[in-house]
């Protein structure tokens, strides 16, 4: 198994080098004639007003919280899912109970009106 992750590492290295290569070739052969107007931010041709990196109201931060709960908890379900044939029926029901608690969380968020776009 150690070997498998070595291969993934090789993939990562080659996977970074290959996308960089055409960018380097492009950097060597492409013309470079920058001027202020060419480099100004493109927003449908209208001059941009103010800074882009402002405080922004992310309307879905509640969704992000619900997502966090779900994503972490579903990862715990993977070992259970794989071993399901070897588990006693009681353990399967335990897993289902775990999922139902997840569903209860979702229903709670729904009833509280957290799944609405605000």
């Amino acid at each position: 198994m150690q070997n498998a992750w070595l291969y993934i590492g090789l993939f990562l290295v080659i996977g970074i080098v290959i996308p960089v290569a055409p960018l380097l070739i492009s950097w060597l052969v492409a013309p470079k004639k920058p001027n202020p107007i060419k480099q100004s931010t493109y927003e449908c041709g209208i001059e941009t007003v103010g800074d882009s990196w402002v405080q922004f109201k992310a309307q879905y931060y509640i969704f992000a919280l619900v997502f966090l709960v779900f994503d972490v908890e579903t990862v715990f379900l993977f070992p259970w899912a794989i071993a399901i044939n070897k588990l006693p029926i009681f353990a399967v029901f335990e897993g289902i109970l775990f999922i139902l608690i997840l569903v209860a969380g979702l229903v709670y968020a729904w009833r509280k009106g957290m799944l609405e776009w605000i």
């Binding site: 498998a4 070595l6 291969y7 993934i8 090789l10 993939f11 990562l12 080659i14 996977g15 970074i16 290959i18 996308p19 960089v20 055409p22 960018l23 492009s26 052969v29 492409a30 013309p31 470079k32 920058p34 060419k38 480099q39 100004s40 931010t41 493109y42 927003e43 449908c44 941009t48 882009s52 990196w53 922004f56 992310a58 309307q59 879905y60 969704f63 992000a64 619900v66 997502f67 779900f70 579903t74 379900l77 993977f78 899912a81 794989i82 399901i84 044939n85 029926i89 399967v92 897993g95 289902i96 999922i99 139902l100 997840l102 569903v103 979702l106 729904w110 799944l115 609405e116 776009w117």
Partner: protein
Amino acid sequence: MMFWSDPINFIGAWLHSVFSGWGMSAGPAGTLVAFLGILILIVFALVLDIMLVWVERKVVARFQDRLGPNRIGPFGLIQPFADIIKLIIKEDITPEGADKVVYNIAPVLAATAVILLWAILPIAGTITAVDLNVALLFLVAAGSLGTLAIIMAGWASNNKYALLGAFRMVANMVSYEVPMVVTLLIPAIITGTMSVKGITEFQSGVWLVVLSPLAAVIFTISAIAELGRAPFDLVEAESELTAGFNVEYSGMKFGWFYASELLHSYTFGGFISVLFFGGWQVPFLMADGFHFGSALVALPGIVVTLLQAVSFLVKAMIGYWVIMWVKYSMPRVRIDHMLAFNWKFLTPLSLAVLIVTALMDKLLASTNFYVLGMFLSNVVLAWITIEILRGVGRRQRKAEETALQPAMDAAHH
């Protein structure tokens, strides 16, 4: 080991002996062989990617009743190569005020994310680059790296439209990741393994789409959403955000975003085929040839491998074609509808499918009607879902009618 029975491993072993003959020790020689193999696989993926540009342009043209590229080479086949040359010799414009480091890393990361996915793609029985035992988790992890690239690109461009595109991508990702991970649990439950090779081998008899058709549909929908393709293409919604996250990119950097989007779609077509449509499995084809009942048409290993690879690539292309079909026939979904569709429909449904699959799999494990039982439980679940949706729709219509009634009465008087 013979060349005709197992060509890939034969060539690997032969190269290994050649490198050893040059005086290399076993470790570096093995690494070098692995390096060459991976290089060939990645180059194959990228050549395929170039052809996908042609396929995409040709197919969208046909959907819109146009001809598509047809000038350069037969059927315009040389067009994507001309495109690449053009992209490379274009001037690369970095907007003023962009975060240069993040801005330059983003397109590379977008391509790397897709190439990493090819590490676990089982192309044929003897061709899997890495047979990870946690491949499904790797799929989720590497799959969402592409999202990270989009967020980086949108944020670093110092452009409000790009930033809005990136914000929408976050909303997209945090929503559709949930049904995707939940439906990934279902092949794990049925096959009892997380390795994609194991999942493919399990499907020599029955494809998983028969055992869990609902999971296949949910996975396809959430894969399309994860890819940010229409009808979930709010990331680049041309009519609102010009081009969204990649509006400031030009030349080959834009080229990488475009290429990686296409290859990502194709790769997810491949994963849909691996998880639910048998991957490289060909009906009746075993490792030693075709088995029709008791009759055996023996085939050498090289032909079997070739048939399996063709089967996988064709299935992946069909999956990709379905993704394109959806893209070019659906209007864009509004963002609140998109999130509501996920949280109020797909997520509860995928959890219900998960519970039903786990229960039925356990109860029917050693019975004769396992396949039928799994299929019927999905049908019943789909029917209940449709009934619930119909009930909700009826109630909503009634509520709207009663809300309109006073206004209509007033109009009559």
